[in-house]
Symmetry: C2
């Protein structure tokens, strides 16, 4: 295991300390609960919280900022945060208008966030939850009932954050997020595994000339293991799988995310984008905005995912609204 870390057991804690030290003007670190929260809260604004296992950096702390999340809760690597951590985050950022929890669809996350929501309600905090399940690769995978939540979650953070900033109510934000979740789909592929610091072992093995389509962001199995294809073939396979969903229709306006899984050079993401854009154009889609980079990673996994988000006028406006979150400046 070749990593720039100290003791593997301290990696998450030290990562959060290092993150907080990078943005001292905008965030605070609640060390007892592994929570990164906005330093300056706005009274009466609905608070938006997300989080999950660590190892997906810059998710989720990188999305804490004006126009996006109010807090991010970090579990250990690839492990859901515990309910008491999530509850602490809710208490720290609720200013009276309630809290929306944005959850990626993994059984552990759903259970713990739901439990935290119940505890918060007992404390008188209004809470709603939404569950993101954008990954079209597999149903009922390891750790998940239904589709998994992956990079498309970042778009939901943005929609929720922008709407909250405009003063929308908790129920309205939940409703719009659910509409957005219905319209976002992703699929990923991997060339190489990642290594959880405390285990020190690769999450799976894969041959020097193989790739896996539909790989999850924790190294969960995907659709199929096959010989390494060209970038054009990979881009086509991802786009075809995502566009196979019947929500997408010729003429739709789309936002696109080409997401690197951690170790993929930007050069390769640009090359993937080249084919994706050609294909979307050929099929008559209108692309309104393209996001390329590392948004939802899997430690040092090599590979990428494609997310398509079918926007209407309201979703487009919210997606393009200002954000000063470190990993999503716009």
């Amino acid at each position: 295991m070749k990593k720039i870390i100290n003791h593997p057991e301290n990696a998450v804690k030290e990562m959060l300390e290092g993150f907080a030290a990078a943005y001292p003007d905008s965030v605070e670190y609640l060390a007892d609960h592994a929570v990164i929260k906005r330093k300056h809260l706005r009274k009466g604004k609905v608070a938006i919280i997300s989080g999950g296992g660590s190892g997906h950096e810059p998710a989720h702390a990188g999305y804490v900022g004006e126009g996006m999340l109010d807090a991010a809760v970090a579990g250990e690597v690839f492990t859901s945060p515990a309910p008491d951590q999530i509850l602490a985050a809710m208490k720290a950022v609720n200013t009276g208008a309630g809290v929306l929890l944005i959850i990626k669809n993994y059984s552990g996350d759903v259970m713990n966030f739901d439990m935290a929501a119940e505890l918060a309600e007992m404390d008188g905090i209004p809470v709603e939850t939404v569950i993101v399940n954008d990954d079209v690769a597999v149903e009922d995978s390891l750790f998940t009932t239904g589709r998994r939540g992956i990079a498309g979650t970042v778009f939901i953070h943005k929609i929720a954050g922008a709407l909250a900033e405009k003063g929308a109510s908790l129920s309205e934000i939940k409703q719009v997020c659910e509409r957005a979740i219905e319209r976002v789909r992703s699929m990923g592929m991997a060339l190489s595994p990642c290594v959880i610091p405390t285990s020190g072992k690769p999450s799976f093995t894969i041959g020097e000339t193989e790739m896996e389509l539909g790989m999850g962001i924790h190294g969960e199995p995907g659709l199929e293991r096959e010989p390494l294809q060209s970038a054009a073939n990979i881009a086509e396979a991802l786009a075809e799988a995502v566009l196979h969903e019947e929500i997408f229709q010729t003429g739709d306006e789309l936002a696109v995310m080409i997401n690197g899984l951690g170790a993929t050079p930007m050069m390769e993401l640009y090359i993937v984008n080249r084919t994706v854009q050609q294909l979307l154009k050929d099929k008559g889609f209108q692309v309104i905005k393209i996001f390329i980079g590392e948004y939802m990673t899997s430690l040092e996994m090599s590979g990428c995912s494609l997310t398509l988000f079918q926007v209407d006028e309201q979703l487009k406006e919210l997606l393009l609204a200002p954000s000063d979150a470190p990993a999503f400046k716009c």
Copy 2:
């Protein structure tokens, strides 16, 4: 070689196509010359151009945008662009106030950019050049006389771009950039090599428990090969090496960049930042801004670099001025 590419010979061309396709509202791709230029030029503004070998993405095209570069010229991977490419970029973005060329200090780049500058002057374009040499690791390395230019170059792009946007003259921008270059120093380290697409072979070999301090961004040899250290020791070694330069004095205001070389998880960069910030605080420096992410990479090399930039009031204002370059939004 496990990469998401098509034919290795086409990687740079297709990467630039994919980049241009990602930002159609703000950039244009001059395919004949491998140049990415701003779509909307402002008459009478000094044009700022940089570039160099490819493989350092998001450098240099990612820095094309309002408040930063007017054009980026791409060579093949780790190979300087030719003078005619650089000349074409100058002709494409000069609006009458002249052009500043920002060059990283490698012999090939310096020769080709200088030759292009001479050709442009013969065509009546006012040209100035500055050479960035921020890497304190080695003097007179492979490909370089003097110190190499690495991630600190991005700060110079920002200073030059912000000053040009304010309407400064070519000679004033050159002068301020030279002051900035005097105040920026970097050092990197690597855990693993990268693979140039057309060669298909790792740029060097390194043991499973080794790291190299002072490694260049093309895999050039560094200071020393040693057993893999903890993140804290690595951060200290980089910071000590950079701070050893006599330009840095207790009480100085610094901007900091923790740059990933391509395959390094953000988690590890945050952990490095934790120690760097502790150390700078202990030594009495005032950190005004921290940049963490991939700014000047080396394909899929694993490792990082630390850049410190000692700013005065003018440099601070320019560094923090707005930029809409895709890889440096602020």
